[in-house]
């Protein structure tokens, strides 16, 4: 017997409430990501400060054209460094967030099954699953990237083919207008189709991290299992996604009311108002990170657990149902 969406949301909330520590992995993940980004930026600055300033000097002081072959060679080298560093940064960030997300899902599973979790679970599950989750995440990134590139090539070829209709025309203005309209049309189609594919993929791939951690699957198996899980539970996944979006939206509305009295600060000084707003937005972001993200992780974990291996040895909730309601409905089933 699987849980209904009402039970899922209620019980998930009850699992999360005594385990506020579930927010910690997400907090650590964000802090680690920020540190990595700062380190990478410092490294880039140290590596490229010299070459770039010498290049700028050569543009300023050279009398002839600055774009000599050496200059272009240098510029390409710098570009190469930036691309390599960006890829390294992406890999590092994915690695770190794989560890913490795997840990958070493991903690959520512990909280659901035993009612209590600790940071020890985060380290245990994070260590055990981060490699698989990392490869799953990298595979997903590669899927997104290859869809982008393949679609771009298809649309570029299509627009190239359409331009051949105007190959005999010598009127520059007509050719320019033709290029404009073909470019605009293919660009709109490209952006729209890419967006639709990405939105759908974003929802379809939601279960993948849960398949990695809870079902102990490798990257490719987890992708397959995540897709299969989505196809079997489309309605529930959409429903839970809608509930989480609605909670987000509702909290945003409440937040707008909470910050509204600070608008009066404008009459003292707009700068003070702005500073207060910045602080409040930061606090709000922190609040979301520490409440909504872990809560939705618990919900997704519960959904996945319930629909795959089932929720085992769940402790009975503290609010026990009144016994007068229960026996008449359960006893006949036992004796029949």
């Amino acid at each position: 017997m699987t849980e209904s969406i009402e039970d899922l949301i209620k019980k998930g909330y009850r699992n999360w409430r005594p385990n506020l520590i579930l927010g910690v992995p997400f907090l650590l993940d964000t802090i680690a990501t920020i540190i990595i980004i700062i380190l990478i930026l410092i490294m880039l600055y140290l590596c490229l400060h010299g070459p770039v300033s010498s290049m700028l000097e050569s543009i300023y002081y050279s009398s002839s054209s600055a774009f000599t072959p050496q200059f272009i060679q240098k510029a390409l080298n710098i570009l190469l460094v930036v691309v390599v560093v960006a890829i390294i940064a992406k890999i590092l960030i994915t690695l770190v967030s794989s560890f913490f997300v795997a840990g958070a899902i493991g903690m959520a599973q512990k909280a659901i099954e035993t009612g209590k979790t600790s940071l020890g679970d985060m380290i245990e599950y994070g260590r055990g699953n981060f490699i698989s989750l990392f490869f799953a995440n990298i595979t997903i990134s590669i899927i997104y990237l290859s869809i982008t590139i393949v679609l771009a090539i298809v649309f570029l070829m299509a627009s190239g083919a359409l331009i051949f209709f105007y190959i005999n025309i010598t009127n520059v203005v007509v050719v320019g207008l033709a290029l404009l309209k073909i470019g605009l049309a293919t660009w709109i189609l490209y952006v729209i189709i890419l967006n639709v594919v990405f939105i759908l993929l974003g929802i379809i791939l939601i279960p993948v991290p849960y398949a990695v951690v809870i079902s102990h699957l490798g990257a490719i198996d987890a992708l397959r299992e995540g897709y299969r899980f989505f196809m079997n539970n489309k309605l529930l996944i959409f429903f839970l996604w809608a509930v989480i979006s609605a909670v987000d939206w509702g909290l945003g509305l409440v937040f707008s009311v909470v910050i509204s009295p600070f608008y009066l600060l404008n009459f003292i000084s707009p700068l003070i108002h702005l500073i207060f707003l910045a602080i409040l937005f930061l606090l709000y972001g922190l609040f979301l990170l520490l409440t909504i993200t872990p809560l939705s992780t618990v919900w997704w974990t519960r959904l996945y657990l319930d629909r795959t291996i089932g929720i085992k040895n769940e402790p009975s909730p503290p609010e026990v149902q009144p016994p007068s309601q229960e026996p008449p409905s359960s006893q006949p089933e036992i004796y029949i």
Binding site: S4, E6, W241, Y263
Partner: protein, 295 residues
């Protein structure tokens, strides 16, 4: 609660598939209202236009346009607008009551006909109309107060208030039609139903809101495809040779046509989706929730 929400959604979908005629009241309602709007605009424009004389005199520059408005006609027009809004609201109420009645019949017996629409519509349209009017006046007064607060403090007060009213009174029309109640009892019963079934009501409201939003992307998607393909077919006239001739009608008229076609198709698609899919389905879901909920 006998059924959980998933069952309500699934079975409601099946009920809708077997009774596609629940779309008929929504179809008739929107067509009749559209006709009324056309008639109404024609009347005001051709017969009761209070600005008609003022445009003629204002163009000579002797009189300010305000002084030459025919105030009697303006008053008449305002009365006309209000009465037309009331008529349209009554017509919508009739068909909405009919749709709820039809979905009740479809849920209970598995089959429904247009006779049910007329029967329930005739019986309940005044109640539905009065309830809508009461809620509308209530919301309007509070919103006017909230608008002043919102102007000073810049919070989303109005959205929060309207959302809460929408959720709390969501089942009132269903209580009226399905429970066969009057105005005050209907409001009371709908409110009580919400208090007893807070969680399912909120969840169904969220689901309906997001599924509507999600399906609402379809017309945008179609519009973008039509627009981009339409642009491809805009012929470029060969007489264009310089910048000023970009405004030549040979180029502008096809562009305008593509634009109008895009807008027309997207409006038509979203109208079709709303009338044939969203409105009947949500009516069935809410009726089912009301029929299954704790009374």
């Amino acid at each position: 609660m006998e059924e959980n929400l998933e069952d309500i959604l699934r079975n409601g979908f099946l009920t809708w598939r077997k009774n596609l005629n629940i779309a008929v009241p929504f179809l008739l309602s929107s067509i009749i209202n559209l006709l009324l709007i056309v008639i109404f605009i024609t009347i005001i424009y051709f017969f009761l236009n209070p600005f008609q004389s003022s445009f003629a005199t204002a163009s000579y520059g002797r009189y300010s346009p305000l002084s030459s408005i025919n105030w009697l006609l303006l008053l008449l027009d305002i009365l006309l607008v209000i009465s037309f809004l009331i008529i349209m609201s009554i017509i919508s109420s009739f068909f909405y009551a009919g749709a709820i009645g039809m979905s009740k019949k479809a849920i209970e017996t598995g089959k429904t006909t247009l006779d049910d629409m007329i029967e329930y519509g005739k019986k309940k349209f005044i109640t539905i109309f009065l309830i809508n009017l009461l809620i509308f006046i209530f919301v309007l007064i509070i919103c006017l107060i909230l608008a002043i607060i919102q102007m000073i403090f810049r919070g989303e007060f109005i959205t929060i208030f309207v959302t809460i009213v929408d959720i709390v009174f969501a089942v009132v029309p269903f209580a009226v039609v399905i429970g066969d109640l009057g105005v005050i009892e209907g409001l009371k019963k709908g409110f009580r139903f919400f208090i007893d079934n807070k969680f399912p009501v909120v969840l169904l409201w969220i689901f309906v809101r997001y599924i509507t939003q999600f399906i609402g992307y379809i017309p945008i998607f179609i519009a973008a495809i039509i627009f981009s393909i339409g642009i491809l077919f805009v012929p470029i006239p060969s007489d264009i040779s310089s910048i000023p001739s970009f405004t030549s009608p040979n180029l502008l008229i096809p562009l305008l046509l593509v634009f109008l076609l895009t807008i027309a198709v997207s409006i038509l698609v979203s109208w079709i989706i709303s009338v044939f899919v969203i409105s009947p389905l949500t009516t069935i879901w809410w009726s089912k929730l009301y029929l299954d909920g704790k009374k």
